[in-house]
């Protein structure tokens, strides 16, 4: 276990200390006074490494990450979990734009809201199943080009508003679960909306319980409302767009 006071520290130094620590076999890191340092968790490995972050981490939190767990006790900024391969990121506040871009595996749990383009071009591969669960609301271009994995949008504040436009535009893989019914006609023509069945809920349950446990909220509250499921109409949305010269 190691505690690093990141006050005034450049990201290069902070991340070097983390990499060195992991190299020495340290499993638990406590980063204090973090404020805007980029790339925390960049490209690090180790399924049992846990980095606890106090303060606001900078952009690209967990970029290229391959196994460890990052716990953020505040809000976080943009590009969380960018091109992430494995691991877990918990955000106890809100997240910025472009969460989980090109993410191939691992989990991102956000207690609050997330910004624009959440889950953009997220993709699953073989046993790797990336999962993003957002407690609050999201901005537009949600799940743009989504190619695989699971995104769950809980809307825990139970508001009737749903402001996200260009929803799931270009989605051609994966599944989105919504804890509210939306007026589907307003959204992407690339996707289809279904009510969840028992199989869906059994599948989701373990993630929702994990999510609830992560943030110490009762899982019954989350699962007390019906979920809807969104899947792409086609894995080849653009097959007919082109003609060969």
């Amino acid at each position: 276990m190691i505690t690093i006071d990141a006050a005034g520290m450049h990201y290069k130094e902070l991340n070097r200390l983390i990499r060195e620590g992991i190299g020495k076999g340290i499993k638990k890191f406590f980063l204090e006074n973090v404020n805007g340092q980029y790339y925390i968790g960049d490209g690090i490995k180790g399924d049992d490494v846990v980095i606890n972050i106090n303060g606001i981490p900078g952009n690209d939190l967990g970029v290229f990450m391959d196994g460890p767990t990052l716990i953020v006790n505040n809000n976080a900024q943009d590009n969380i979990g960018n091109t992430m391969n494995a691991g877990k990121i918990l955000i106890k506040g809100d997240a910025g734009d472009v969460v989980g871009y090109g993410m191939r595996g691992g989990k991102i749990y956000i207690l609050g809201n997330a910004g624009y383009r959440v889950g953009i071009h997220m993709k699953g591969y073989n046993e790797q199943l990336p999962i993003i669960i957002i407690g609050g609301e999201v901005g537009s271009f949600f799940a743009e080009y989504m190619a695989g994995g699971i995104i769950v949008l809980l809307g825990l504040n139970d508001s009737d508003e749903f402001d996200s436009e260009y929803f799931a535009s270009g989605m051609h893989g994966g599944t989105i679960y919504l804890r509210k019914k939306i007026d589907f006609s307003k959204y992407s023509k690339d996707v289809e909306l279904y009510e969840t069945d028992e199989n869906d809920m059994n599948f989701l349950k373990k993630y929702l319980i994990d999510y609830a446990d992560s943030f110490n909220i009762p899982s019954e509250e989350i699962m007390g409302k019906p979920f809807y499921k969104i899947v792409p109409s086609s894995a080849r949305p653009y097959a007919h767009l082109y003609t060969s010269a």
Partner: protein, 506 residues
């Protein structure tokens, strides 16, 4: 609306068989990836509409019985309404699709390289004999400090104070441009990997990830990170000598890419780390780069992931404001900038983009080099010029205009038999290059074409040495950016100014 299968478009080529010579061995049927030939019981039949003039059939016809000719049936000539325009209207009215094709533009724009002449020594300084005296082509790509920092040791000998930033060492100033596994076959990539290793240069994975078979070639590979992030993970970033962020491509500036699901078989799926059969879509922008400071963010995300041991290259298409763009890229921390001119190739791109967007590499390069020098930051990054480098002469001129090295793509494919038919997008390449059909890929022997690539680059390197010798210099760095050794012919004042060279005679 009723659908009609009737098409106005007539065959572009005729596949003519001399039945007197033909011995019905059926090799043409086997070799044609397009299905042009079939056996009609007693003779070979040709469906001309399928022929793309890829040249495979006549190359492999043992009797020389095949000739491919342009269909003499004319569309009435009209300089305004060219055949191509008319056919595209028919094509699009029949399908409703965006017209796409492979390779670079086929438009006849001015080729500036062909209007630049090289200098040679006469009397006042001597030429050097490149065959018998040293003639250095070694090139290092990467950030160079503006000055050397040294300390003196106890013996008064200078020692380096700080380590050089990481560099890619090339034995000759050529690299193979980025062509992904998916856009080309694995065997085509292997041929380049074998050649790169033998030559002491590098190839580039393109955006399709790194196949397991290429991992042992890491010292001769640049791995690419494009907007689709296919196959990108921590170990991938660390598996080559450098990492390239692909922003754009000369053939299709500003647009993304799209490898159709039918090309995503098991092997490509594993390399790109996406499921079999889904479209591999590369978004137009990187969605973590909407501004120059975001590029810096990704450059340093990669540097952090590679512990600052790999140079980071940024590849951009040559567009109107390229000088300012590259200046920004250099200031964002790129160690190498790869500039791809508008005649560069592609696996597939809409013709509207390919034929009409971007600017020539010669002008882009000249402006970029000048701009970086004006700003005093030319040393901060190496420049790679690309976009149809067709010969060693093009390479020499590009280097004299300011490039550190040049990249070749199309020329490398031509080595493998490509006849530049431009049908890469269809996946039917008879030469086994731009296809994933196993029976076609199998015919491209990486060893054979690796050796031919080696031969080509060796020959071009010798030619560069000849030019250096004639110019009286014995190191490529004395040519790099030396525009004084270039003169223009048949160029306007504006063109000469953009190129930063004088007209011949002056």
């Amino acid at each position: 609306m009723t659908k009609s299968s009737f098409s106005n478009i007539q065959s572009e080529y005729l596949a003519l068989i001399d039945h007197n010579k033909c011995v019905r061995c059926k090799r043409c049927i086997q070799n044609c990836g397009w299905g042009t030939y079939s056996f009609g019981g007693d003779k070979i039949l040709a469906d001309h509409s399928k022929c793309v003039a890829c040249g495979r059939c006549y190359t492999y016809c043992p009797e020389g019985a095949i000739s491919i000719v342009k269909n003499p049936t004319v569309i009435r000539e009209n300089a305004n309404w060219s055949e191509g325009l008319i056919k595209n209207i028919w094509r699009q009215s029949e399908t409703g699709g965006i017209v796409i094709s492979g390779m670079g533009t086929t438009f006849k724009y001015k080729k500036y390289f062909d209007h630049i002449l090289l200098d040679a020594c006469q009397v006042t300084n001597p030429s050097i004999d490149p065959l018998r005296e040293p003639m250095e082509l070694r090139t290092y790509l990467g950030k160079k400090p503006s000055r050397l920092d040294v300390d003196l040791d106890e013996n008064g000998e200078a020692v380096l104070k700080s380590k050089m930033p990481p560099q890619i060492e090339l034995q000759t100033p050529f690299i193979f441009g980025a062509m992904s596994y998916g856009s080309i076959s694995l065997n085509a990539q292997k041929a380049m990997a074998l050649a790169a290793r033998a030559l002491g240069i590098v190839m580039n994975t393109g955006e399709g990830g790194l196949h397991d078979d290429l991992v042992p070639f890491g010292k001769n590979i640049i791995v690419q990170v494009a907007s689709g992030r296919f196959g990108v993970h921590r170990d991938y970033l660390n598996s080559g000598v450098a990492v390239e962020i692909k922003i754009g491509q000369g053939a299709k500036p500003g647009i993304g890419g799209h490898l159709p699901g039918e090309k995503i078989g098991a092997d490509i799926s594993r390399t790109r780390m996406i499921p079999v059969g889904t479209d591999a879509i590369s978004p137009a922008p990187h969605h973590d780069i909407y501004s120059i400071e975001d590029l810096r963010q990704l450059i340093y995300a990669i540097k952090e992931a590679t512990d600052y041991e790999k140079p980071v290259s940024v590849k951009v298409a040559a567009v109107h404001n390229i000088a300012a763009i590259v200046s920004g890229i250099v200031r964002a921390g790129a160690d190498i900038v790869y500039i791809d001119g508008y005649t560069g190739g592609t696996g597939a791109a809409p013709n509207i983009i390919k034929d009409h967007v971007g600017i020539p590499i010669e002008l882009a390069l000249a402006q970029v080099d000048e701009r970086l020098r004006e700003e005093g930051i030319r040393n901060e990054a190496s420049i790679i010029a690309a976009g149809s480098i067709r010969s060693s002469a093009d390479a020499v001129k590009a280097i004299a205009l300011g490039a550190d090295a040049v990249a070749i793509g199309t020329a490398a494919l031509v080595v493998m038999g490509c006849h530049v038919c431009g049908k890469c997008n269809t996946g039917n390449c008879s030469w086994g290059i731009t296809t994933q059909r196993p029976e076609l890929v199998r015919r491209l022997d990486p060893e054979v074409y690796g050796e031919r690539l080696y031969n080509l680059i060796s020959a071009w390197s010798h030619e560069i040495q000849e030019v250096l010798g004639a110019m009286g210099v014995n190191s490529i760095e004395s040519l790099r950016g030396s525009r004084e050794r270039l003169r223009g012919v048949e160029l306007t004042d504006a063109e000469l100014k953009a190129l930063g060279i004088k007209h011949a005679g002056l």
